[in-house]
Amino acid sequence: MPKKVMVGLEIHIQLGGRKLFCNCSTESSSETGNTIDRKLIATTGESGKYDPAAVYEKSRARSFRYSVTDNSCLLEADEEPPHGINQNALRKAVSMSLALNCKVVDRVAYMRKIVIDGSNTSGFQRTAIIGFNGYVETSKGKVGISSICLEEDSCRKIEELDGMVLYSLDRLGVPLMEIATDPDIVDGEHAVETAEIIGKKLLLAGWARKAPDAIRQDVNFSMGFGRVEIKGVPKLSTIKSAISYEKERQTWLGELSPALKGTDWGRLKFQDVTKLFVNTRSNVIAQNMKSGFKVYGTVLPGLAGCLKSDKYRMGRELADVAKLFGSGGIMHSDELPGYGVEGEVPKLIELLKPGNGDGFTIIVSTPKVIGLIEDSMKSRLRKLESLDLPETRVVSDDGSTHFLRPLPGGERMYPETDIPSIVVDNSLLEAARKDMPKTEEELVRGIISAYGISRQDATVIITSGKVESLRRYDEMLQNSRLAARLILQAIPELEKKAGQSISDQEIYPLLEEAGRRKWDRQILEKAMDLHFIEKMSMGDLLKSSHLKPIEGEELKRMIMELNKEEAVSQKNIVPMIRSRTSRPFNPTEAIALVKAITG
């Protein structure tokens, strides 16, 4: 009988600013065009044994190409030791530990976690425990926080080519806070709630990178058949569907497993059946054959009717394996004839000779990997048969989960000797305590008092994670109302007009100039318009007459002239001036002038 569902979360949050072990920015604006090619060799773990995930990766024998970006240096290229730890990131991790009621370690000791899928150029990820044994209050009781780690993010995968994976170095080394809960979560809704509570703390603190993938969740799921780690759940809503998918999957596997016991998996043996498909009407197979692929077929012992029925989905389990080796998937006996494969089916049966209860399948692949696929399918079937389910899975947008690789073992972690251990002393603890994420109410009050803006504006700024922007804008402009207006109104309008989002990095140079030249709102907004909509360069912009305000005598003259054309009034003067010039002017001044002129 399946036991109680136990769910734990691992929430990963990228911190913005500088990278964890070097001085590179967490943001990239370009690639350099340089690439480096590398291989990673599975090394034995601490006990002289190879890590199962590593052995598995080794069997895929891929090489890796890294695209060098402007926010990477020799460290990301694995060409120099870490420079030391980013003190800001460390303080934030300590703050978060405190905020989540964790114990903070006395010494931070970095570890190397072996990862040889190429996502780390070093072949390991550097990670350290900062806090442990905390908790967070939820509507369904306390959920324990088992650990808070501060680690380096991995490379961003760009594409997977034949035997070669292309990664970008831009994300490698971004500080990643990993918050792991105990398996105290009882269901999908509870998982979402827990994630939301933790996520909001971070969001309010404004520490996370402003990027779509800045927060990623992993879900640890178990119902008695071992822990399944579901990687990279992007949205909160997906957590729920992933949990329910996985629960359903493990449930039917539990039902099916007695029937599979004792099957001779050795009979799963691919043979080249390409000749049967010379005149196939399946477009996908025909096209693949044209590209030099072959078609292989095998009996699937005892799997007839379990591959794709009302209850069972063994086909998917096997397709997951096929896909990992670059194959598009499989076509199996529960769905054939179909996909344009019709006439071939009798010939396939004749050739493969499935026995009673046997299914069969075909796959498009190459001689180079078909042996690996066969081995992997057999080993997978043995595990499923014995309900030995621990593994790493990946989630699709629809919440379905797919086999990714075996779970890594404890073998894969050993000390990072290049980084001396860091003493968490009182000054760090104090700084962290000061910096602790505040509640929304605390934040709102802080913003109001610091910047003198309305409660409503402050709340919007806080919940949209724009506190840091407000601080920087205000620092540059020395005008907190203008800074708030930019965030709440001017920039969103500009983005709408431009049809694209505008990052703080892009707007800073303008704001710096605005502060230096003491531009008022009109000029600044005009300048933003010219720069982002009319694409005027900063250089030209600063020289442009468009930004020279009409004021004093000049404004007066213009009003007098307008008055000749049509009688001006305090009411019509502003639109009248606007229709005449695109240069900025102060409406108050114009109205005052009209008042003076018209008496």
Partner: protein
């Protein structure tokens, strides 16, 4: 506390939390404990309580037989360990590094290992920064002995002073029956990304090729796609951490390993019928880095009693005139002053400026484009193995390719 030995599985309370882990080490009042999730925790001894030693776990340290040979394919290569990152394995619990005793574990990671039969001699490991001329003699003798029974030799060596050792062996071997390939690594071999594996793979191929030179086989660029062979007397470590730290100074490497194949330049010296070793070295040689703050007293102190002094001069081979009396003093007493350039690229040419001509006039020997470190080692060799009256002539003779005949126009950036 002290009764608990490392390797024991402990249960203990730390910050109100009950934890379980293996004691790895104790130092400076901190217990280093490996938790069950793989993380190490550094715990101040005084802040833990309720310790319970549950069981003693077998220590996972590497225990292996010292191997004398590794049977494989027909190509016989001597495999000589001297220490260094490449000749070591990491203890995955402490992160500490231990010398390799049996290279058989490399079978998994060095793809061509089975092509070779290795004749193994792992010398006592020494950090390469601690290597002295006495060690060079040991390495040379070991190599000579092994070459008598093998086609070539690979020498595992720390990268810090690898180019010095390569220069020294280059001069000490008057002739070689096969290649002598020094291999190091810039990323330790515990890392999946270590350069050790490809360097070893290439080093074995170089060592079984047909030529007779001492050199260094290391990555040619930052990618894992080629390893180059630098002539020992032209190699220099030019980056403290990159894989391609070694450069052939002012010339192309004389060999390249790429796509499983060795390509040798026509420049590579042919192997000889026998290996001849002249191991004597006169170590009384100074290497002086000239700079604006160096005064005559400093110079005198650095060169006192030395049989030869190699100056790393500025530009085309100059020093301030304030050193002339001290230089004259040295040449006057019959000892030697040799000039190289601290620019490292290009050579000295002491005819161009008056300073150079004056230095020539007081007996300084201009060493063209010989590298400063190589000049120092060559002086050690020449002083010990040639008649005194031939010193100048021999220093100016291109014995092992230490002089470049020509320097090509390459682009620097």
């Amino acid at each position: 506390m002290n009764k608990i030995t490392t390797g024991t599985l402990l249960e203990f309370t730390y910050k109100d939390t009950r934890l379980k882990g293996v004691l790895v080490s104790i130092s400076e009042g901190n217990l280093n404990i490996k938790l069950q999730n793989g993380y190490n925790l550094l715990v101040p001894e005084k802040s833990i309580s309720e310790i319970k030693a549950t069981e003693s776990v077998t220590k996972n340290s590497i225990t292996e037989e010292k191997a004398l040979a590794l049977e494989g394919g027909p190509k016989r290569v001597a495999f000589i360990g001297t220490g260094g990152t490449i000749a070591s394995r990491v203890d995955y619990i402490t992160g500490a590094v231990k010398p390799v005793l049996n290279p058989s574990f490399l079978k998994e990671s060095v793809s061509n290992l089975s092509k070779f039969t290795l004749d193994i001699n792992l010398l006592e490991a020494v950090l390469s920064e601690n290597i002295t001329p006495e060690d060079w003699k040991l390495f040379a003798r070991t190599t000579r002995d092994k070459l008598a029974r093998n086609h070539g030799a690979v020498i595992l060596h720390g990268t810090d002073t690898m180019s010095y050792t390569a220069s020294a062996l280059s001069f000490m071997f008057e002739s070689l029956s096969g290649p002598v390939v020094l291999i190091g690594s810039q990323r330790s071999s515990d890392r999946p990304s270590s350069d050790a594996f490809l360097n070893l793979e290439a080093g074995l191929e170089f060592a079984s090729s047909n030529f007779g030179e001492v050199g260094i086989a290391m990555h040619g660029n930052s990618s894992d796609n080629s390893v180059v062979f630098h002539r020992g007397v032209r190699a220099r470590k030019m980056h403290s951490s990159r894989r391609d730290a070694f450069w052939s100074m002012g010339c192309e490497p004389i060999g390249k390993y790429e796509n499983g194949k060795v390509a040798l330049s026509t420049d590579a010296r042919a192997q000889s019928d026998e290996t001849v070793l002249s191991e004597k070295l006169e170590t009384s040689v100074a290497l002086v880095y000239f700079h604006p703050g160096l005064n005559a007293e400093d110079f005198a102190a650095m060169t006192a009693g030395k049989r030869a002094t190699v100056i790393m001069g500025t530009g085309l081979g100059h020093t301030g005139s304030r050193l002339y009396p001290a230089i004259k003093e040295i040449t006057g007493r019959g000892d030697h002053v040799l000039m190289t350039t601290q620019c490292l690229f290009g050579g000295v040419n002491m005819n161009v400026y008056s300073t150079g001509r004056e230095l020539l006039g007081i007996g300084v020997i201009p060493l063209s484009n010989m590298l400063p470190e190589v000049a120092m080692i060559k002086a050690m060799h020449v002083l010990a193995n040639y008649p005194e009256e031939d010193f100048r002539k021999t220093m100016l003779t291109n014995l092992r390719g230490e002089f470049l005949d020509r320097e090509f126009l390459w682009e620097v950036h």
